[in-house]
């Protein structure tokens, strides 16, 4: 066992897949010589050479387009968005082209688009976004969003091996904050499409993913100590396809649901989850399905304003306390 950070676990996953399968290659801005803006690919160029770790021009559309072509030709590209905020420049490639390739042309597109997302780091509106909702609506894509070091590693490896395009979202606030003991020499694979019970509980369920999973766990701990409320926390891990069975199971167990995500509220994934619960487990609800999310505003730079806009542990505690007493 060795203690590794979220970032290191991700790096290991990429490394192992590069070692395992020579079809796997990385492309993106500053991923080669510089080793990536957050050093995820540090040392890769030296080990695997510039033909498998390719520095590209600053064009997300070109990066995704090139990756798609390589995937069609039998390679396994991992395209990095230096900040996931700029994936919007590749929106057309991903939604119109990549996501539809199998349906339109019978073309397999086994590629991963990954990049740092999320706030709590004073990054402002261009370096803090969570783009999952924009892509959740696109049939043909898969979206994974790990919260633990183990899943950071397990999901990057599973994504690379998947035969379809996967959007891999990695929260930069977790990069070096999350440390975990991972076994050495054992292959870690996290199946895509399976949620994980991060904490068992009886009185209400919090469904979350990414950075807010940790804030939800903190809130659960506080509620247990201060109120004696037993909170279950479900880590979705994969957003598309969503693990309905796990969601319904936790609803049937606790009968009250709070959905927490860092993304803004309107059109956010919480709405989709709430709709599925209504459709599949309405009669098991003992209270309204509640949400704690970011406000519907661009994320401000000012620390006080960022703290206000993003969901904090205290916000989750308050909402859960209200729901528990409903």
């Amino acid at each position: 066992m060795a203690e590794v950070t979220f970032l290191e676990a991700l790096r290991q996953g990429l490394w192992e897949e590069m070692e395992r399968d020579e079809r796997v290659f990385i492309l993106g801005e500053d991923v080669g010589l510089y080793g990536g803006a957050f050093k995820v690919t540090d040392g890769f160029s030296k080990r695997f050479g510039p033909s498998r770790v390719i520095d590209t021009p600053i064009s997300e559309a070109a990066i995704v387009g090139a990756a798609a072509g390589a995937a069609h030709m039998g390679l396994r590209p991992v395209a990095e968005m230096q900040f996931i905020d700029f994936i919007s420049c590749a929106y057309d490639m991903l939604t119109n082209y990549v996501a539809t390739a199998r349906y339109r042309a019978g073309l397999s597109t086994p590629m991963v688009v990954r990049g740092p997302c999320g706030g709590y780091v004073r990054g402002g509106p261009f370096h803090s976004q969570n783009p999952e909702a924009a892509f959740l609506h696109t049939p043909g894509l898969k979206i994974v969003y790990p919260a633990t070091a183990r899943d950071a590693k397990g999901l990057i490896k599973a994504s690379i091996r998947d035969e379809d395009p996967v959007l891999y979202l990695e929260h930069k606030w977790l990069y070096r904050r999350i440390k975990e003991q991972l076994p050495e020499g054992e292959e870690i694979l996290t199946p895509i499409g399976q949620a994980r019970t991060a904490r068992e509980g009886k009185h209400l369920s919090i469904i979350s993913y990414g950075a807010t999973l940790w804030k939800s766990l903190e809130a659960a701990e506080q509620l247990e100590k201060a109120d004696g409320v037993s909170v279950e926390v479900l880590d979705l891990r994969t957003l598309l396809p969503m693990d309905d069975a796990a969601i319904v199971a936790t609803v049937k167990k606790t009968n009250k649901v709070l959905i927490v995500h860092e993304d803004t509220r309107t059109g956010g994934i919480a709405g989709e989850i709430a709709a599925r619960i209504n459709e599949q487990a309405f009669e098991w609800l003992d209270g309204p399905i509640m949400r704690v999310t970011a406000h519907d505003v661009p994320l401000p730079y000012a620390p006080t304003l960022e703290d206000f806009v993003l969901p904090q542990t205290e916000d989750i505690v308050k909402a859960a306390r209200w729901l528990a007493a409903y």
């Binding site: 109120d227 487990a281 309405f282 609800l285 704690v292 308050k318 909402a319 306390r321 209200w322 007493a325």
Partner: protein, 447 residues
């Protein structure tokens, strides 16, 4: 695959038939054991009938609105097909015991009783959570009840046949929570709750909607209010109401009553004027069968039994329990029956059978002081007797030698509304004259 017959149950000992008022499931619907399957109604009470087994409703043999003898097969359940029916949210029987709410939790819920809208950055916007009682008077009682319970609680209530409104709620605005209902079920095993039901008149009764003025209070009807309202309008609509008034001298009865009151009380019976009046009616109804009758289509049903309904005013409405075979009871038997039915009406312990099969009704508002009143017939009967205040009044009396004088006598008005479709004035007045005669010449030996 087994087939299980669903039977029309016998609700009450004297019941020979029942009306299937509503199927709660369609053919092909999956049904859980003991889940409400259909509703039946008798004179004034209806009940939900639970499924005898789990399965699928395979056949409906008796349609809604049909009246059939008890033990008639009304439908058929296919038992093992139940498993094959897709049940998207297949409910499992809830655990008998709820997880005990942690002690601190109750405090939290109290502290939050005037809840700030749920929080979280974005929950600072208005949220779609309303407490159950802020919506004014436009909802029906059922809707208001629903706002106070969650889907889970309603499901548990249906499975256990629990009336949610009876459970004290600990949630916001008195909402019944999962813990509340599970605790309630654990403490008190539940039985089907018979609830009163509107008779099925010719056509549904609609009551006009009136706009409330500012400051008015709008109170949705309770079930019993609704039934009464519908029934009264229906009765006025279907019967040709006529009324006759008879003044009765109760002086003799009052003397007997004063004399016998104590000995009756020692036998646990309160002797009232009403008992004498009911006795006088019971004695004469068999002599005047047209007053002890019902209208059915273009025919008259002459009732074989004399069953007298006694209207009982309750704080929450009006109910009419029935003294069965009143003509076979002595005065004390009738008095005892009136005491007993009244008491059980007030304590909500009447059985469905207690308010069925009346053939004639007496309503006695006299205690409240009216000189006389004109009651509305209790359908499908054809006559109802109203009793006015019984008090001392000046009366002209004629002595044996023919001289008149004014005396102080105890008198009261008897009013009878009757259905002129079948009861003519002469019939009604002959009956009333006989009742009056018996009351004024009440045999001492009968007391």
């Amino acid at each position: 695959m087994a087939r299980v017959d669903v039977l029309m149950p016998q609700m009450g000992e004297s019941i020979a038939e029942g009306t299937l008022s509503k199927w709660l499931k369609k053919v092909g619907d999956p049904v859980k054991r003991d889940e409400p399957l259909f509703e039946i109604s008798t004179d004034k009470v209806d009940a939900e009938i639970p499924a005898p087994a789990a399965g699928v409703l395979a056949e409906i043999k008796v349609q809604q609105g049909q009246t059939v003898p008890v033990q008639t097969v009304v439908g058929v359940l296919e038992t093992e097909a139940g498993a094959a029916v897709p049940a998207p949210a297949k409910p499992e029987p809830p655990k008998a015991a709820a997880p005990p709410p942690p002690a601190a939790k109750a405090e939290a819920s109290k502290a939050a009783l005037a809840p700030p809208p749920p929080v979280g950055p974005s929950a600072r916007q208005p949220v779609a959570v309303k407490s159950g009682d802020g919506d004014g008077g436009v909802q029906t009682a059922e809707q208001r009840l629903r706002t106070k319970s969650t889907p889970l609680v309603r499901k548990i209530a249906a499975e256990h046949r629990v009336d949610i409104s009876r459970i004290p709620g600990s949630g916001y605005a008195g909402r019944v929570t999962k813990q509340d209902i599970l605790g309630y079920i654990e403490r008190a095993p539940t039985a089907p709750i018979p609830r009163p039901q509107a008779p099925s008149p010719a056509g549904a009764i609609e009551h006009a909607v009136v706009e409330p003025w500012p400051g008015d209070r709008v109170e949705p009807w309770s079930k019993i209010r609704k039934i009464t309202a519908d029934h009264m309008v229906m009765s006025k609509r279907v019967s040709a109401h006529v009324a006759s008034f008879f003044e009765v001298d109760f002086t003799r009865v009052a003397q007997f009553r004063a004399k016998a009151k104590q000995s009756y009380a020692e036998r646990g019976v309160t002797l009232t004027f009403l008992a004498f009046i009911a006795k006088a009616c019971a004695e004469n109804l068999r002599k005047h069968p047209i007053v002890n009758a019902a209208v059915s289509g273009d025919s008259t049903i002459y009732r074989a039994d004399v069953n007298i309904g006694i209207a009982v005013a309750l704080d929450w409405g009006l109910i009419v329990p029935v003294i069965k075979h009143a003509d076979e009871l002595s005065l004390i038997g009738i008095a005892r029956a009136i005491n007993d039915l009244g008491e059980r009406a007030r304590t909500k312990k009447l059985l469905p059978d207690d308010i069925q099969r009346g053939t004639f009704t007496i309503t006695n508002p006299g205690g409240f002081g009216p000189f006389a009143g004109i009651p509305i017939i209790n359908q499908p009967q054809v006559a109802i007797l109203g009793v006015g205040a019984i008090e001392k009044r000046p009366k002209v009396v004629t002595a044996a030698d023919g001289t008149d004088s004014i005396a102080i006598r105890t008198t009261g008005m008897l009013t009878m509304s009757y259905d002129h479709r079948v009861v003519d004035g002469a019939d009604a007045d002959k009956f009333l004259a006989d009742v009056k005669k018996l009351l004024q010449e009440f045999p001492e030996g009968a007391v």
